[in-house]
């Protein structure tokens, strides 16, 4: 096992949901207060030397330039700050940038945060904002939504490999079930395959219950150099691998439109860095922005052969008690998808799992966790591997 890149010493996450009457910065205060309360150093706030803030759209709150404002609301008035924007991977972009900052030796303690307040706008406006992450020269101009982009992948995967709407529905059923065990999840509602199949079409073959939620939320972690982590907590979680990649945003440029090759590349990079095999991962949070995405991700990270992702769901392999549990938090599908916060919220869940703090959804004895987050149609990619010190 290689030396860790950095260590997570504290993590916090706001309640996810339609958070009426609360601004983005206030959601982040909620997450930050939880994070610092978990450190054994009551002065951890004063040890933070730099902040990286993932946030996607200035359209939702009519607010760009969020980094200094978010820092200010957390009580930092003189902190180097940077905002990262990589659409739905904005949070993980902040984490990877933070890891680089620690690993370079420039800083020893960094705050990594992600936040999005989406519910100020009506649905068509939220979709317009999200669609801005697709390519204006090609796909935005065609009237595609992100559900539409993933639907194009789904139609092709159904046509070529025989993936079914029922298999996609099983992703939603599983993740909704997991979310009922997560008090911070947006949705706390068990659903059936029938419910998914009968829900109204959003972008056929994707229906309402195939889509992640328009959610308000924030999450943050505090990371340090590995050798000082135990000053802040007795149970640090090491970041042992970080992989990243990019690809064409437009599907028309991809030889096979349902291949999201960047996931495979980023996963391979993270695994090689950590000297870990995918089969040794105990728990994973995957980017289930739409049900089809989780199926394609099984194939890209290497737990299913190409075309066989759907079969894993039929076998229950990715359930909480399966051989490769995926999205114990409820995922983007049911925990919710506040775009800029999502990548960090995944890390928060893995942090809890590896510290045996995940309550009724705890994966017993989890030692190694994987978080996979992507932007747009799968054109920016981040995969992180975390490990506890037990």
């Amino acid at each position: 096992m290689s030396k860790p890149l950095a260590s997570i010493v504290a993590a916090g996450c706001s309640k996810f949901g339609k958070r009426t009457g609360v601004m983005a910065r206030e959601l982040l205060v909620e997450a930050f207060q939880e994070a610092i309360s978990k450190s054994k150093d009551p002065d951890i706030r004063k040890k933070i030397r730099v902040g990286f803030f993932g946030n996607f759209s200035e359209m939702y709150e009519h607010q760009s330039h969020v980094a200094p404002i978010l820092a200010d609301w957390l009580g930092f008035h003189d902190l180097p700050v940077i905002r990262t924007e990589d659409a739905c991977a904005s949070g993980s972009a902040a984490l990877r940038t933070g890891i680089m900052a620690i690993k370079s030796g420039l800083y020893d303690v960094a705050l990594i945060a992600g936040v999005e307040k989406m519910n100020n706008r009506r649905t068509n406006e939220v979709l317009e904002g999200l669609a801005m992450a697709s390519d204006i020269a090609i796909e935005q101009w065609s009237g595609l939504t992100f559900a539409g982009i993933f639907a194009l992948m789904a139609t092709w995967h159904m046509h070529k490999y025989g993936t079914t709407e029922t298999q996609m529905a099983l992703v939603a059923v599983k993740n909704h079930k997991n979310a009922t065990l997560n008090p911070k999840a947006h949705m706390q509602k068990l659903i059936t395959v029938e419910d998914v199949l009968k829900s109204r079409i959003v972008a056929w073959p994707l229906k309402l219950y195939d889509c992640s939620l328009i959610t308000d939320g924030a999450a943050c972690v505090i990371i340090t150099k590995p050798e000082i982590a135990e000053k802040f907590t007795d149970n640090p979680i090491d970041i042992v691998g970080s992989g990243s990649s990019s690809d064409h945003e437009s599907l028309i440029e991809r030889k096979e439109i349902s291949d999201i090759k960047g996931i495979a590349k980023a996963t391979r990079e993270a695994l090689e860095m950590a000297e870990i095999k995918i089969k040794n991962v105990d728990v994973a949070e995957l980017h289930d922005c739409f049900t089809i995405a989780e199926i394609l991700e099984y194939e890209e990270i290497g737990i299913a052969e190409r075309g066989y992702g759907g079969k894993l769901l039929e076998e229950g392999a990715t359930n909480l008690d399966g051989w490769f549990p995926v999205n114990p938090s409820g995922g983007l599908k049911a925990k919710g998808h506040p775009v800029g916060a999502t990548g960090i919220a995944q890390i928060y869940e893995i942090f809890l799992q590896l510290r045996n703090e995940a309550g009724p959804r705890q994966i017993k004895g989890a030692k190694i966790g994987l978080a996979q987050n992507m932007g747009g149609s799968g054109s920016t990619h981040f995969v992180h591997l975390l490990k506890n010190r037990s």
């Binding site: 649905t123 406006e125 979709l127 194009l152 079409i201 056929w204 440029e253």
Partner: protein
Amino acid sequence: MVSIEEFYSKLNEGELYGGKCSNCGNITLPPRQICPKCLSTQIDWYKLSMTGEVESFTLITVAPKNFENEAPYAVCIVKILEDVKFIGRIKISSQNEIKVGDKVEFVIEKSISNEWPMWPKIYLKKLN
């Protein structure tokens, strides 16, 4: 020199041109200055057929704000040549009205917008 604006102005006149790399022959839509395959910058205009076949499609019923007056509609990825694809939409109200492999023709509606981007709308018509 190829450009996206010029690509759309040609399309506004009803003609679909890609960019063809004079080094490796790769065709891109819209054209780009740097060939994504061989990185050559010798790119020439190349006229393409206005017909192709549906490689994949989706029926959009919940549309972004700028398109909500048109919904429902299907958006299709259309294969024009091997590895040369483009995208267009077709006014239908059920996913059963179209299938992978259907032959379609691009139908261009000239831009009437005064706001950027002043590009034509790209529709599809089914061919029998």
